[in-house]
């Protein structure tokens, strides 16, 4: 993805959104940002600037949204983004062992991407799966009641 411009399709989608009347600016921004991240796997610098140009929202404000929300990334990530819940219930249910198993198997730490670009692992706060911990999220899919064996099994399914 070496181009420095949004694809025409995304551009048109954002333009379409910004023409909608009475659409609150945060909805416009969030929908556009999700769309960009879906396409590129992260939110590139140029994309924020272009989004600002199309919507007339200050570049720094676009950046503020991106930096505020944990699930937006400004750096390229692996093909699959894996979030482990780090909040108290999942912690008590054994999240440390899960994380250790993953780190040992793939040789990278939380916040890092595997050298083959397959996974990016990171912590997240509570996902609302407190009764079924430890929990993880892969590409929007939730997995619960993990064990060190189960987590590796699940990850193997993602190429």
């Amino acid at each position: 993805m070496s181009t420095n411009e949004l694809t025409r399709q995304i551009k048109e989608e954002i333009e379409e959104l910004s023409r909608k009347r009475n659409l609150p600016r945060h909805t416009l921004l969030m929908n556009s940002l999700h769309r960009i991240q879906e396409e590129y796997g992260y939110i590139p610098d140029f994309a924020m600037q272009e989004l600002s140009e199309i919507t007339g929202i200050a570049p720094a404000e676009v950046n503020a949204y991106v930096s505020f929300y944990h699930f937006f990334s400004t750096e390229p990530t692996g093909r699959h983004k894996v979030w482990f819940c780090r909040t108290i219930s999942c912690h008590l249910a054994g999240k440390d062992q899960i994380v250790k198993a993953v780190q040992d198997r793939f040789g990278v730490k939380m916040g890092q991407t595997t050298p083959d670009g397959r996974f990016t692992f990171a912590f997240t706060n509570c996902m609302g799966m407190c009764d079924k911990g430890p929990a993880m999220l892969i590409d929007g899919e939730t997995y619960t009641k993990l064990t060190p064996e189960k987590v590796l099994e699940i990850l193997e399914k993602y190429e």
Partner: protein, 600 residues
């Protein structure tokens, strides 16, 4: 009829319009509520919580600045709870505020320092961070950011986006990691920052300051081999007194001349002289454009109408970035500062028999963007750097104090010749609408052979602080020989100040709504130069109004009120430049612009 609500504040029964904030109510009744993030020029943020008050029946304290009164209530601003919470908030702000008051540019004029004094904080209740977390960003030409002194009030963020339509400052991250910084935390030099300095004017602390030129100027003044000349712009005169405890709008022109002499400047000149030249050049240029349309039948667009003013370097960088397709309409005339610079190292050097290499050309400006302008590579038409150093009003104030000079009590003195006489038209460049008014006075005279038909030459429709003004002048009934084609025309002039207003105007232009407008004046800063980013802090509509009055008052009493009447301007053209838009004028007094990328 607005709906009224009964309220009690500190026991005082009163009635307010529904929707009034508690802070507005308190201010109206002269009840003091401390604030930090609130600013009269900006939308409310509710970011700092300094203004908390107690409302009867509510469990938590409310921030007065962002609480609209919608029903009957009982408000208390002085209770023990209020006092303790405000103290705590202040102590927490001070904990993260790294910096030493004694060596800070804002020492003595810092809102955080003042509040700490007001609250009698004699100790850091929650400790004090001593190690820096961030580095100082001095990569730009004009603005220096020291994020360790930032208290996240977001005044600069609101200024950059809402007043200036630039939007490079933002609040990134969240919670304890929240910080005010630039887009993607880039160095200020890599951003779209236009160097206007409006963020500096509104910063409550020393987190935003101008890039220092005082050391370099002192060095030049102390060098016996250097001939140091200074040109002084009109707006600083109306504001520098504020740095010495005088009320806003105290005109200091002649006392400042004396101070500059005491500091060791060899010649003290008046930027108004070159402002008059700007009018002659820009006016002639506009008239040539009109001739192209009305005599040669060229389209307005092709001829470059409406002509757009080019005196404000913040505006120039802004239009180069955001509306480059309109650059052909910009006047090629340089700003008064740069015209002056080009003349100092050519005309003046020759006249005085001084090697231009030994001249140090300093300018006193109300502006931070001028620091950027003088560094532009195009600004070396004299063969040297036309203007070597730009001092802001604040910087000169600091230098005068450092020299131990008591400005308010100095005797008055005049400018030096030959570049020390400006007309009132040059002077009013300092206020929004002033360039347009100065141009109107001279162009009207050239076209009709008579003075502009306004009482005291005051073109009132161009004055005042309305964001976008479109003024209609009287119909041209009578013309001087050669200008018959202008007969029957009703000249229209548009004026904007503050870049968000300029954006409105540019969008109107784009939409074809300014078809019959001849010229557009844009000043980057609210109020024009008198509200410039180099002017004393604080700033507010009232302060700018007072400075504006001082400028218009001084204009009223000057011997020459119109640029074309200035005898020095005639002398300059006769002795040196030839004629407006002539060959030498073109070389020294005109410039070109560049399309800049919008990408950072």
């Amino acid at each position: 009829m607005a709906e009224m609500v009964n309220v009690r504040i500190n026991g005082i029964e009163t009635e307010v319009e529904k929707g009034t904030t508690i802070l507005q109510l308190a201010r109206k009744l002269n009840i003091y509520v401390p604030t930090l993030c609130a600013h009269p020029d900006l939308r409310q943020a509710g970011a700092c919580r300094m203004c908390v008050v107690e409302v009867k029946g509510m469990r938590t304290l409310q921030s007065a600045c962002s609480f609209p009164i919608t029903s009957e209530m009982d408000i208390f601003t002085t209770t023990a709870k209020v006092r303790k919470v405000r103290r705590d908030i202040l102590a927490l702000l001070l904990k993260n505020h790294v910096g030493e008051c004694q060596t800070c540019k804002r020492n003595g004029n810092c809102e955080l320092q003042r509040l700490a004094a007001e609250f009698g904080l004699h100790d850091y209740l929650y400790g004090k961070r001593t190690e820096r977390r961030y580095s100082v960003d001095d990569t730009g030409y004009a603005i220096v950011r020291d994020p360790d002194k930032c208290i996240n009030c977001k005044r600069c963020v609101r200024t950059c986006s809402d007043i200036q339509a630039v939007g490079v400052l933002g609040t990134l991250y969240r919670g304890a990691d929240t910080k005010v910084t630039t887009f993607m935390e880039k160095n200020i030099a890599e951003t779209l920052c236009v160097n206007c300095g409006q963020c500096i004017n509104r910063c409550p602390t020393g987190a935003l300051t101008e890039k220092d030129a005082t050391s370099a100027v002192w060095e030049a003044l102390e060098d016996p081999n250097k001939h140091v000349v200074i040109q002084t712009a009109p707006a600083p005169r109306a504001a520098i007194g504020e740095l010495f405890g005088l009320p806003a709008g105290t005109s200091m022109t002649k006392k400042m001349n004396t101070a500059l002499r005491l500091m060791g400047f060899d010649r003290i000149f008046d930027t108004n002289t070159s402002a008059d030249l700007t009018i002659m050049e820009e006016g002639t240029e506009l008239l040539i454009k009109l001739k192209k349309v009305y005599i040669e039948g060229m389209s307005k667009d092709e001829a470059g109408l409406p002509g757009i003013t080019s005196c404000s370097p913040g505006w120039i960088k802004w239009i180069e970035q955001f509306y480059p397709e309109y650059l052909p309409k910009l006047s090629t005339a340089k700003s008064p500062q740069q015209m002056f610079g080009a003349l100092v190292k050519t005309y003046y050097a020759q006249k005085m028999g001084i090697d231009p290499a030994n001249i140090v050309s300093v300018s006193l400006m109300p502006c931070t963007a001028k620091k950027f302008e003088c560094e532009r590579p195009e600004m070396r038409d004299s063969g040297y750097k036309d203007v070597d150093y730009v001092l802001t009003t604040r910087e000169l104030g600091a230098m005068i104090k450092e020299a131990g000079i008591d400005l308010p009590n100095l005797p008055e003195s005049e400018f030096d010749s030959p570049l020390g006489l400006g007309s009132g038209a040059g002077l009013i460049f300092g206020a929004t609408g002033g360039v347009a008014e100065a141009a109107a006075r001279t162009i009207w005279y050239i076209v009709t052979g008579e003075n502009v038909p306004m009482k005291n030459l005051e073109v009132v429709p161009l004055r005042g602080f309305e964001g976008v003004k479109i003024a209609t002048l009287p119909k041209i009934e009578k013309t001087a020989p050669g200008w018959e084609f202008m007969k029957g025309i009703v000249p229209k002039i548009a004026v904007a100040h503050g870049l968000a207003n300029a954006k409105k105007l540019m969008d109107m232009l784009k939409a074809g709504e300014l078809e019959d407008v001849f010229c557009i004046e844009v000043m980057a800063c609210p109020g024009g130069c008198l509200g410039g980013g180099g002017q004393p802090q604080p700033t507010s509509p009232e302060i700018r109004e007072a400075r504006m009055k001082a400028i218009y008052e001084e204009d009223r009493h000057l011997p020459y009120r119109q640029s074309h009447e200035n005898p020095y301007v005639h002398q300059l053209y006769e002795e040196f430049l030839g004629e407006p838009m002539g060959e030498l004028s073109h070389k020294l007094l005109h410039t070109h612009y560049c399309r800049r990328s919008r990408r950072m």
